[in-house]
Symmetry: C2
Amino acid sequence: MASRLVLALDETDPARALDIAKEVSPFVSKIKINYPLVLSAGLDIVTEISKFSKVICDFKVADIPNTNRLITEAVFSAGATGIIAHAFPGPESLKAIRAVDPSKEMYVVITMSHPKGGDFFKIEEFCSLALEVGATGVVAPATRPEDVAKVKNLIGDLEIISPGVGAQGGDPKETIKAGADFIIVGRGIYQADNPALAAEKYMSDMNIDD
Amino acid sequence: MASRLVLALDETDPARALDIAKEVSPFVSKIKINYPLVLSAGLDIVTEISKFSKVICDFKVADIPNTNRLITEAVFSAGATGIIAHAFPGPESLKAIRAVDPSKEMYVVITMSHPKGGDFFKIEEFCSLALEVGATGVVAPATRPEDVAKVKNLIGDLEIISPGVGAQGGDPKETIKAGADFIIVGRGIYQADNPALAAEKYMSDMNIDD
């Protein structure tokens, strides 16, 4: 089967980020990039990495519809295949992203992985919203597998991608059992002595029960 | 009195954005910059503009604490004097921003200006959170002056900055009367034939009743 692993490439040194992306690309399904890297390297880093891997821009877009649209246009023009957005600003903001290019992936954050990160998030309403706006999938935290299971029951066939594995403490197998389709690992790979080896190990561990 | 006007510089052409910023700077208290401009121009545009105006990065930061910290470090290193963040990822995410440099400005979004933009926002809880984490001020929408008044009653001496004037329909004087300290205007200035003249007019109109 295809890898269930997504690399969260939160390394901010551009040259090192690009090296890691290349080494790790055979073992991951996608590479997730966040603003800290883009702010240091420019959006060109998305274009560079998208030459050998699918790239999701985890920009947690959370603005008014017009700004969401402009951010999304920039991201897809640079070569990304997907974008991550917050549900919090409501349906109009998500629809503005979806309308840019419905052939691309849009993931909606249902709740977050850090301590107290989920206190204000409405899992049921945000899952409904994700379905309503035609999201590709949702983001739900591996640090709270019970939330992943709850989300799984609410979103039907939408994909679930789960961050919070490794440094934040989530367990990949438990998260997959709860319903996650893809597991996002960051520091456990990009800070490893041998990122490719670490990625291969994560990938194999995840697939072993299938 | 000092200008109550903040320019939302949502022009995405870097050269034009820089020209407008220069022309308009005598009439504004700060210039607010969002991701679409930074994605096209790079973070250097913040450094350029901060040579002649205070710059707030309206990045509506809404990530886990570590990512919030990295984004904030990048923004302040580039020369910005302030950053705008979302409250909904909770206190830990806001504290991570605040800890980067407490001498800089951190504004917390209490609710949003677009249609259905406030449905999930908890005005009372987010105002408490802004106070708890030591925010400089809060963002509340000129499109709903009743929300600005409500926020004013909840946040004591914190500043209120209000977007949604002009193209989105908010009225500056009504918003100031409701408690706003600064009014953010975007398209009404940067899309005007003469942005400096438009900014001067907005500035004078706002100060006339003082």
